[in-house]
Amino acid sequence: SDAKSGRTDLIFLIRFRHCCLLRNQRCILAYLYDRLLRIRALRWEYGSVLPNTIQFHMSAEEVEWFNRYKKSLATYMRSVGGEEGLDLTQDIKPPKSLYIEVRCLRDYGEFEIDDGTTVLLKKNSQHFLPRWKCEQLIRQGVLEHIL
């Protein structure tokens, strides 16, 4: 608007101010986008439900973004693997063996395996369980893989 008023001596000032504004915009967007990328990583690490401590640090819009991302990821995963879909957040590492030795880090309760047997997961108990069942629990911190 100052440019329109024909005061050419202010052009440089306007340009400078505009550059500053653009820089600020870029910084803000970079910060917000980086936070989004971290939140996205949380979905892949923790699963659909975030721990309360983390949710506490997220703004309402970020929570909304997360929910929408979660939903669109779920739709995609469901569409990809036949009838039930393929959970892409499992099988992060190549499988080395079918069964793994795990130690329970905290009380979890009863846990059922594929063939119907239930295992009681108490703190410090050790079990020899199928790998694919434990992956989720290992990521949540309930079980610990003993090498």
């Binding site: 915009q25 703004s59 819009e61 991302y69 693997g81 393929l86 499992q90 099988d91």
Partner: protein, 244 residues
């Protein structure tokens, strides 16, 4: 020999056609599994034309490669088939655990492939969508329909978020931001290792420094090279080279 085959498979690199080997040597119980249909998939996983090369190419290429829905469908069908067979087999059998291991491996490769694609889609989402929009009619798509839907939702989601949190509070002339310009493009100049599957002649290589001039090279079959991705991108798409 049976046991040696087993231990070999357990420690070797993923996706070995274990089941195939067992079928050749093993006891007759295995004949219950329809050999050709199920194991040919596992075989193709290793040899030439399908899954493992597609997986490796996708892992090492800096940009999103063509989508291969037929392969994915095929592998998923194989997995379902194998799972169904396993359910019917009797429990406690050694073959069951070996097959289950194979299923795990195949599932890992498939998951890894799809995850790799998703990561690239999310990283380069404006460019991927732009490329898809400007694609000519006959050209193969780089996105499957589900991936396209996912990419569009991701873009809309991110745009809405940025608009609501930051952009709408800014002065009017700054409220639009071109994501196409701000989000970094895939680096096609990055170097990749490759193995040549089909002999290629006269590949034009751009000069690296000012003193060099562009020159042509011939790629012999079976040779391995380290070259900029940009130079050989069309060869990856046609399957003439394999990224390693």
């Amino acid at each position: 020999m049976y046991l040696q085959c087993l231990t070999e498979s357990m420690t070797s690199t993923p996706v070995t056609p274990v089941a195939f080997r067992l079928w050749r040597l093993g006891p007759d119980g295995l004949c219950r599994f329809p050999p050709a249909a199920v194991f040919s998939g596992a075989l193709r996983l290793r040899r030439g034309r399908s899954r493992a090369p597609a997986w490796l190419n996708e892992k090492f290429a800096p940009e999103l490669l063509e989508s291969k829905p037929e392969i994915i469908e095929c592998v998923v069908e194989q997995l379902d088939h194998m799972e169904a067979n396993l359910k019917r087999a009797k429990r406690g059998d050694l073959k069951v655990s070996v097959h289950r291991m194979e299923i795990e491996r195949i599932r890992y490769v498939l998951s890894s492939y799809l995850r790799c694609r998703l990561v690239k889609i999310e990283k380069f989402f404006p460019h991927v969508l732009e490329k898809e929009k400007s694609r000519a009619e006959g050209e193969p798509s780089i996105l499957s329909p589900e991936e396209f839907a996912f990419a569009k939702e991701y873009m809309a989601n991110t745009e809405t978020y940025l608009k609501n949190v930051a952009l709408k509070h800014m002065p009017p002339n700054l409220q639009k931001v071109s994501l196409l310009k701000s989000v970094p493009k895939p680096n096609l100049d990055s170097f990749v290792f490759l193995r040549v599957l089909e002999r290629q002649e006269n590949i034009l290589v751009e000069p690296e420094t000012d003193e060099q001039r562009e020159y042509t090279i011939d790629l012999e079959e079976g040779s391995q090279h380290l070259i900029r991705y940009k130079t050989i991108a069309p060869l990856v798409a046609s399957g003439a080279v394999q990224l390693i």
